[in-house]
Symmetry: C3
Subunit: 264 residues, 3 copies
């Protein structure tokens, strides 16, 4: 990017952050001035459709929408948009520790480089908000309990499908991902699943989506919340990725007893 | 990226823009000097293969090649290359309003973050060219007419495959995408389809490609133009994405009466 | 990205480079200080898991791990992480010419924009190390010999599956990729295949992976090396892309006589 473009992006980001803080006063003007002057129709869609309509929909909480948006940005490497949305996430009730844990989780599910780029932005946001020390430190709480039956089924699948071909990958999957990362108390299992599902959809990874959608619903996400998250992601990762997720949602919904999932 | 790298990228972009303006005089030196000094073989491929050969092929107009290239850059988040190619697009006959509308369209087909990053570059390019005001304003023209039969088939497919699982996504698809965005007169339907097809191929989204290739050909694109666009995309989004598109092209070509498509 | 973020990324990159140089002295502190202060758990995983464990595994040489990492970074457009890893690649025995050739190769397999962004970083790294001139010049050596049977089978597949639909793409594939790029002596065929396989996995392109895995093993990669490369990529491109590669590995391994591949 040119230095001029970098300056402009900085202005976009600052304008975005300012707009975010004004949001509760004037929801109708979220798009930065330079969007309004350069591509007016996109500014109109941003204000009237994305913020006044999509973000305001009742089917998914603002905190959940922030988890979904942040995950899509980190998984997609969209550093220019992270600042405003990390701020918004904190405003929407995501704690600094949860934001850091989301980034840590995405190191594994979207790759180390995307996580490292997100850290640089998080550091600026935390500095500006005076956040540090205990607020970002690892929890002293005990690891979360394991769901034995779920974990045995998962490990059996890895033993059958991964270990014979790539034994080290199977080992890290069992030992680091599921006996460590997923048990960290810094993020509730439901939120961790939401982050994972959002990253998978943003990355166009339908193959792993079925397993993680099921896990998300086991952890308490409802059909309506899942459908709303996919709708939200249509805007943040593009219609094609959202549309590709729909048949996987259908398969997972069809597999689960309706009564149980509707009373979740 | 380091500040040094940012400076270098700025130099690349400036050199690229200068080279683009020189292009009609000296097509053989498009690659910036730093490419020539750092990775000489890549500079040679850039000059002799990509610009002197691929861009000069008669099967697709320079304006169409710019739509394809810009769409691949925006969909892939390649901000560092946008400046030179936005300039080139304007030189090749894409109007500022069409460029802005391409970015707006890609907000929906490649996600808001990619579109917003493109706006920042477009703003610099427009400023440098003295473009603004009416040249980028939304059109006062009436929405484009709807093709009733095509639209009923599309809506029926959404009703069958999307609405039962994700009703809000189906609603936005019908109401915002196809009853609004696709009818905007700022971009001809054929060009909008070309932008969509390029973004889908750049994003590796074969699932939605078949529908949009059919739509592109309904709107007037010929087999030769579609094949040439895919060939062009091999260079801008990599061979694997282009190769994955080929069986979808074959299926769409096989489905359509040859005579009709050849006289398009 | 904001200027603040750019400054921070510069600091991350510089800290990363410094850490890399200290690595042989103190492997346990690779994560930059800002990661340790902002997202402490990610710093711990970076030091204890990624560098002290994964990079140190004996199944794949550090030079091969650098090829894999660099390819994932270039194919994913991760400019912020390239500097430290280009330095590390040079430290691990990748020559400047091999690094340039990797970037050139990835222009074709991950698209020109990703390659061009990598050139800007390579230029800074080369400048800092005093690398230039002959060290990056194209080789005067003759093109590598063609494996006639392998090449005839490949060309026949392109004739059957690509040429009827996209003749120009078939032509460039035969003439530029396989009669030119793949025969360039700047990169050994095995290393070129490793770069290609890493880029395909990083880009989530399972379709082309089977062909290129077979080619990599024909060129001398063992099952263990391939499995280890996929495990390494789980960290640099995320678990989902690595997991999607596993069934393709299995299919390729199953297809090949075990004895032959184990004595490779």
């Amino acid at each position: 990017m040119t230095l001029l473009a970098a300056t402009t992006l900085a202005m976009v980001a600052m304008a975005g952050a300012a707009a975010a803080q004004d949001q509760r006063r004037d929801i109708s003007r979220v798009a930065p001035e330079i969007v309004r002057k350069t591509v007016p129709p996109l500014a109109a869609y941003t204000d009237e459709l994305l913020f006044a309509d999509v973000w305001a929909r009742p089917g998914l909480s603002p905190r959940d929408r922030s988890f979904v948006t942040v995950s899509a940005l980190v998984a997609g490497g969209h550093a220019a948009q992270m600042r405003a949305h990390f701020m918004r996430a904190l405003d929407n009730g995501v704690t600094p520790s949860e934001l850091g844990e989301t980034i840590t989780h995405l190191a594994f599910y979207a790759g180390w480089p995307n996580a490292m780029s997100a850290v640089a932005v998080a550091r600026d946001v935390f500095a500006e908000r005076g956040i540090g020390g205990d607020a970002v430190a690892a929890s002293a709480a005990a690891p979360l309990p394991v769901d034995g039956a779920q974990e045995r089924a998962r490990a059996a699948s890895v033993d059958a499908n991964v270990r014979p071909t790539t034994p080290a990958l199977a080992d890290y999957t069992d030992r680091v991902l599921f006996a460590d990362l997923w048990l960290r108390p810094e993020l509730a299992p439901r939120d961790r699943s939401l982050v994972t599902v959002a990253a998978l959809i943003a990355g166009g990874k339908a193959e792993q989506l079925r397993f993680h959608l099921g896990r998300a619903m086991d952890a308490g996400m409802t059909r309506d919340e899942v459908a709303e998250a996919v709708t939200h992601l249509a805007f943040y990762t593009g219609w094609p990725n959202a549309m590709s997720a729909v048949p996987v949602l259908k398969a997972v919904f069809d597999d689960r007893p309706a009564a149980a999932s509707q009373t979740d």
